[in-house]
Each structure stands twice: as structure tokens, then as C-alpha cells.
Symmetry: C2
Subunit: 415 residues, 2 copies
């Protein structure tokens, strides 16, 4: 008997009929002899509906109250789903984040899971019940409801899979799996059969929306095999698993883009030890995540520039914070930035063993007349920030150049 | 400094603008030097929307899951309300039933409050916050969400007022107070300024929808003054308070009707000791509340009839249970009933000191050609079950006969 976690996103449970269809799918899997734990998101559209209400109340909705508000979304789907399972003659029970309980820190709207109490779930599974857990939500030590941020239901599913030592974690979504790039902007995009945790981690953190990054981190840490697949077909999707030889043979596995960042530069900063800490501590204290950071070389006048990117929704807030900081530290060039940027990235574990991949990327972008404003690299990825308007062009050019439409890619040298 | 509980129903918080208006009203009261605890219902229409979803899932929705589902409604309003208060520069915090916590028994969809933990509320009030509590919901000992049934938010408000030793409990609604009868069917209906707990208790239990009966029980038990008033005006409403001399001077305070019951008769029941228990134990075990019970005199053949009323939504279920019971106990006349009935009642503490009120009621109904099928009386009320189609006629005739349109009513003898 296998223990399987199945997570269904908002479009999969978008209306009562879809919820019933999901119930049938889960029951079928259970009847094949599996123990089932189901994680559900809010109905598609619900989170936006609630967020719109919140914005009518307060320009910047209070994070604690926002979590109370948004967590009602999954509450609706898990209860309806349990009713649907019961209507089909099987037993079911729903749990909210604070009932399981899914213990998190107290960072409202972007909490992190600290631990999961699995006793009650195990007891109900032992009773033959389909156990349904509200995704996206948890509970802080003081009993406050927390949420894990957009995509948090994936994290709930994988964290549950890890805590319960599940045999597999199936993430059902409205696409058929993980693609070499976004099929909406590149018709040659190809579904990937198997991808390593590290690659998926980069793809997720770089903008691929199919899986939430924290879910992949958990999966890697606890070696939980993730199967990303479509709710609406029986087709095999993409398995996210440990790296193997075959994967290493590929140089680039995917091209991804992220329009959700903004670029900020603080200029004329006195180039002194500790200056970076003075700039980034207040930003970090405000719970703003900084992605890429570039510090220019001091050109001799004792001043330097610092450029970095943040999530676009944090842009205005970060600009406010930074203007104060600029005054305090006497940054002569002031603060400026842009929300119209995209981060384009190529990812592949094969890069570890191949040189020249980054320069190939730069050449391809240059050939298309696209200027690069920031670069960042890791062992298995290269990212370039470009103007937002070049997004589609850059993605297609790179997808072609690295021949990602082919299942087997020739050596890098032939590019 | 007074401590005031204010409860706003679904129509008072029916959309974002209304929620903001309520926030302003609460803040104004706080600024007059009061500590404020606010209890909110779900937005009007929300409970029906969710119930419709549930009925699409399951013919008889699972009660535990129904509570998970419905409790999401208040979760939305309390969080939005707290945001609205914060947007106006005051501090606020929301609590759900399981956070306060409002401890209940485990009777899903109609739980009873056992106790309330007030420490957290008191601490947040001491911090100057407007504390908002989700009405209608509580938590069972095992951590399951429970709900108190329709109108349960009133109970939450009064129970909180009692637990916190509040100075007043204001119940805001879409009407201006408690009326001598339903103004929708009797144009002469008059708003009552002050009414006793006992009268309100009878009126509420007999069908007046303005206050939930359990809230009045709590209020009486802990001597919490309730002020029923309109959300949309500043007009004084109706105070529900301890009985006084003036109230005793009135014979009948109100006429009410309840179309929400159904009548069931089990005939040809062997007239033996213990037979009533055999009939009503399985009904009570199914959590069905029985209201009026009439047992006919054994006419000599050793058989009797038993007639009673239940809430209309429990009618089909009770009929099913009773058919089994009839077979088991050998009731020769079978089970029959009707859903098309109304219970018409007159209520007044003055009845204690006046005789002949019941017979006046019977005469008035007889004059209008209305047949009475069940009668039940208490110290301060007389109820008659009649055919549903006579509801309006009966109410108007009784309102006229007892001159309820006048603030001061002459002695009964003049009727």
C-alpha cells in the first residue's frame, strides 16, 4: 500500500463540478490500494476576489488580517471536497492549517513551515478516510493564521509528503508538466519528462510558475519525488527527482523569464566597510526579499553604486525605505529604479561540466540587439536582466540557440 | 469607561462600503471613551452561496464539513472589518471562534457555547485595540470547528458580553427594534421601547427573527442589557432588560408567528408507561428538536395519539425515524403530518395577573373562521397551530383585538 499526496490547484477545483471530478479521481486512486492525502488550493478567482475586497478596505492591507481573509479560500474547497467524497460513499475529513497543525513562523503572507503534526492525519488515514488538508495556510506559535504566499499549496503538499514519508507527491495543475520554456510565448516549447531538483529549483526561483520554489526545496531535502501533471488528462507529466547521468548529458534544460521583479539603484554611496549592511538591513527588516545584487567597482572617487532587484510588489515600499537610507548614509547620487524589467535565465545541470554557456547566452542576446543591465550566475544557471519589452524575443532566441525543442541536444561547442 | 459589545448582522456588513460605515460607527463609539468588542456575521448572501455549493456536493451535507464551510463567511468579514478600522488610524485585531476561544459542544451546525476564554481579548483591549470576533462559530474540544446555527452571532455577542461583564450588548440589524408584530404583514405594528427578557424569550422562540433565542437566554441568565437597533439610523431601538412594573401593566406585548414548523401525528399508540420515551428518544438522538407535544386521552381502547411539532427542515427525517418507531411499538394508526402549518402566539408578562387571555385569543380566531389544531400555553404566552394560509389574517386580527398599536393598553376585561 502506497501513501500518495495529491495536490490540486485553483483551476482544478474552480467550480463544484470540477471539485466532484477531482473527488472521483482521488477515490479511483484510493481504490487501487493507496492511502490518500489531498491538498487543495482556493477556487480559482477566489483569492483575487478576496484581495480586491481587502484593497477596498486598506491601501496596504494589514498582513495578519490578510492571512485571516485569504485562508478562508481553501477552507471552502476542503470542506466541499470532503462532502463530494462522502457523497460517493467513501469517508473523508478536512483539516485546516491550524488543525493539522502546520506550524509556521509568524511572517504573515509569506510564512515558512517549521514543522507538521501528523498524528491526527495518520489516525484518520488508518480509519480509511481520504484526508484533505487546506493548502497555503499554517498557524504561528501564538495561534494566528499564517499563509505561505502564492503557490504555497505546493509547499504544503511536499511538506506533508516529507512529514508522512509519502511514496509520491503528485501536483495537479492546468498544464501537462514542466516545459523547456513558456509554451505561451514559444511554440517550440517541449514537455520535460524528468528534471532534477536543482534544475527545478532554479526554474521555479527564476519565474517558472508550475511549481513553487519552497516546495522543490522541501522535496530535494527529503527526497520526495514530485510528479507534476494535468488535472484534465491521464497523461504522464514531469517527474522532479534526484539528478542522474542522463540529465547531466544535457547542457541547458530550460529557458525561463520573470517579469515580477523591479530594479533599484542607489548611487554615489561612500565606499566604506559595512555600507552594504547599512543599505540592506532596513530592507531585510521590512521582510523584502532582495534577489540579484551588483556593486560597481569604486572608480577612484570613494563612491560606488549598488544595484539590486526586488519583487515588483515590494518596489514602492523599498524605494521609500531606500530614500531614507540614502539620506542617512549620504548617498550623493540618490535612488532610482525601474519596474519595466525582465530576468531571462537559462538553467541546466550540464553547465557544471561545460564552459562557455554564459558567453553563448550573451552572444545570442547581443545578436538580437538586446542590452543586458544585470548578470548573475550560479553553477547551473545564467540570468540576465533586460528591458521587459524584449522578453518574448529573448526567450525564443535562446530556446532556438540551445535547441531545447530536441529531446537530445548536441554538445555546446556546436552552437 | 464602559465596555460595549456591538454585533452587526449580515445586511449591516453586506458589502465593502457597509463594512467601512460600520467601522466608522464603532470608532466613534470608542472615541467617546468606550472599550469596544465587535461581533460580525457573514456578508448577507454569503451563507446561502456557500450552502448552495454544499448542496451541489451532497444531498445532505456532512455537518462537520458544513461547519468548516460556513465558518469561512465570518472569517471574511472580521478580517475586512479590522482592515477598515486600521485604515482609519485606529488599531484592531480579529479573532475566529477557535482563536478566542469560544468552546462549544460538538453538535455540528447547532452547537452550544460551554465557555469563553477571555484572556486574549482582554489583553488586546488593554492595548487599545478594537477587538473583532467572528460570530456564529466556535470550537469543539477536539479542535473541530462548530457553528451555532442561524442567528448564532447574536448568541456569540451576548455570551461575550456576559463573559467580559460588558455594560451593554448592542445588536445592530436591518430593523429599528422589536415590534409588536411583523410590520410586513401588519401595518399597525409598533416598535416596543422596552421589553423583558421573558417576553423576548417567548417572542424569539415563537418566531420573531430579530433576536436569536439563545442570546436572550444568556442575556437573562447574566443580566446583560441588550439594545436591538438599526445599523442605518441613530434612532434608539428596543431595550431587552429585566422585567419592571410598567411591563407588568401590559397584558399582551406582541403577536408572533412561526411558519418554520411541521406537525407530525403518530396514531394508535399502545397507551403504556414509557411509550412517550420510546417515541421521542430516537428523535432526540437524531438531534431533532421537538416543540409542542400533545397526547390525546386514551378513549378506552388502550390506544392513544401523539401529535408534536418539529422544525420544518427536520420534517422528512423525523417522519423516516418515526415510521420505524411506529412499526417497532405497533402503532396501528401509522404516522402522518403536515408542513403547511403556522404557530400563532401572543406573549406578555401581564398574562400572569390576568385570566381569560387564552379564551379571548380562541374567540378572535373563531370569529375569523380559523380552526386550531394544537394549543400550548405557558405563564406568559398562548400558542395556537393553524393552517399556514391563515397566518396574516390571524396576526392582524389578534393585533387589533389586543390593541397592540397603542402604547398603553386598557384592561383585558374591556376586550
Amino acid at each position: 500500500m502506497a501513501l500518495i499526496i495529491q495536490k490540486f490547484g485553483g483551476t482544478s477545483v474552480g467550480n463544484p463540478n470540477k471539485i466532484k471530478a477531482v473527488a472521483e479521481r482521488v477515490i479511483k486512486k484510493q481504490k487501487e490500494g493507496n492511502q490518500m492525502v489531498v491538498v487543495l488550493s482556493a477556487m480559482s478567482g477566489e483569492t483575487n476576489r478576496l484581495t480586491d475586497f481587502a484593497l477596498e478596505m486598506q491601501d496596504i492591507p494589514d498582513p495578519r488580517e490578510m492571512d485571516v481573509l485569504l485562508s478562508s479560500g481553501e477552507q471552502v474547497t476542503v470542506s466541499l471536497f470532503s462532502m463530494a467524497v462522502k457523497a460517493k460513499g467513501e469517508d473523508a475529513i478536512s483539516f485546516l492549517g491550524d488543525q493539522v497543525r502546520i506550524n509556521t513562523d509568524s511572517s504573515h503572507t509569506k510564512a515558512r513551515i517549521a514543522s507538521i503534526d501528523i498524528e491526527r492525519i495518520q489516525a484518520e488515514m488508518a480509519n480509511g478516510k481520504v484526508v484533505t488538508v487546506a493548502g497555503f495556510q499554517g498557524v504561528a506559535a501564538n495561534g494566528d493564521i499564517t499563509t505561505l504566499g502564492r503557490g504555497g499549496s505546493d509547499t504544503t503538499a511536499v511538506a506533508l509528503a516529507a512529514a508522512l514519508h509519502a511514496d509520491a507527491c503528485e501536483i495537479f495543475t492546468d498544464v501537462e508538466g514542466v516545459y523547456t520554456t513558456d509554451p505561451n510565448i514559444c511554440s517550440k516549447a517541449r514537455k520535460i519528462d524528468r528534471i532534477s531538483y536543482d534544475e527545478m529549483l532554479e526554474l521555479a526561483s527564476l519565474g517558472a510558475k508550475v511549481l513553487d520554489i519552497r516546495s522543490v526545496t522541501y522535496a530535494k531535502q527529503y527526497n520526495v519525488p514530485i510528479h507534476v501533471r494535468s488535472t484534465f488528462t491521464e497523461t504522464e507529466g514531469t517527474w522532479v527527482v534526484e539528478e542522474d547521468k542522463e540529465m547531466e548529458g544535457r547542457i541547458v534544460s530550460g529557458v525561463t523569464y520573470n517579469k515580477n521583479e523591479a530594479r533599484i539603484t542607489i548611487s554615489g554611496v561612500p565606499d566604506q566597510p559595512g555600507i552594504a549592511a547599512k543599505i540592506f538591513t532596513p530592507i531585510s527588516d521590512a521582510d523584502v526579499l532582495v534577489d540579484m545584487i551588483i556593486q560597481n567597482q569604486d572608480t577612484g572617487n570613494g563612491l560606488t553604486d549598488m544595484t539590486f532587484t526586488v519583487v515588483r510588489s515590494d518596489y514602492q515600499r523599498t524605494m521609500q525605505i531606500l530614500r531614507k537610507v540614502a539620506e542617512e548614509i549620504g548617498a550623493t547620487g540618490g535612488v532610482h529604479g525601474s519596474e519595466n524589467i525582465t530576468k531571462i535565465s537559462i538553467v541546466g545541470v550540464g553547465m557544471r561540466n561545460h564552459s562557455g554557456i554564459a558567453s553563448t547566452m550573451f552572444k545570442v542576446l547581443a545578436r538580437e540587439g538586446i542590452n543586458i543591465s544585470l548578470i548573475s550566475t550560479s553553477e547551473i544557471k545564467v540570468s540576465c536582466v533586460v528591458e521587459e519589452k524584449y522578453t518574448e524575443l529573448a526567450v525564443r532566441a535562446l530556446h532556438d540557440a540551445f535547441e531545447l525543442d530536441k529531446a537530445n541536444v548536441p554538445e555546446a561547442e556546436t552552437l
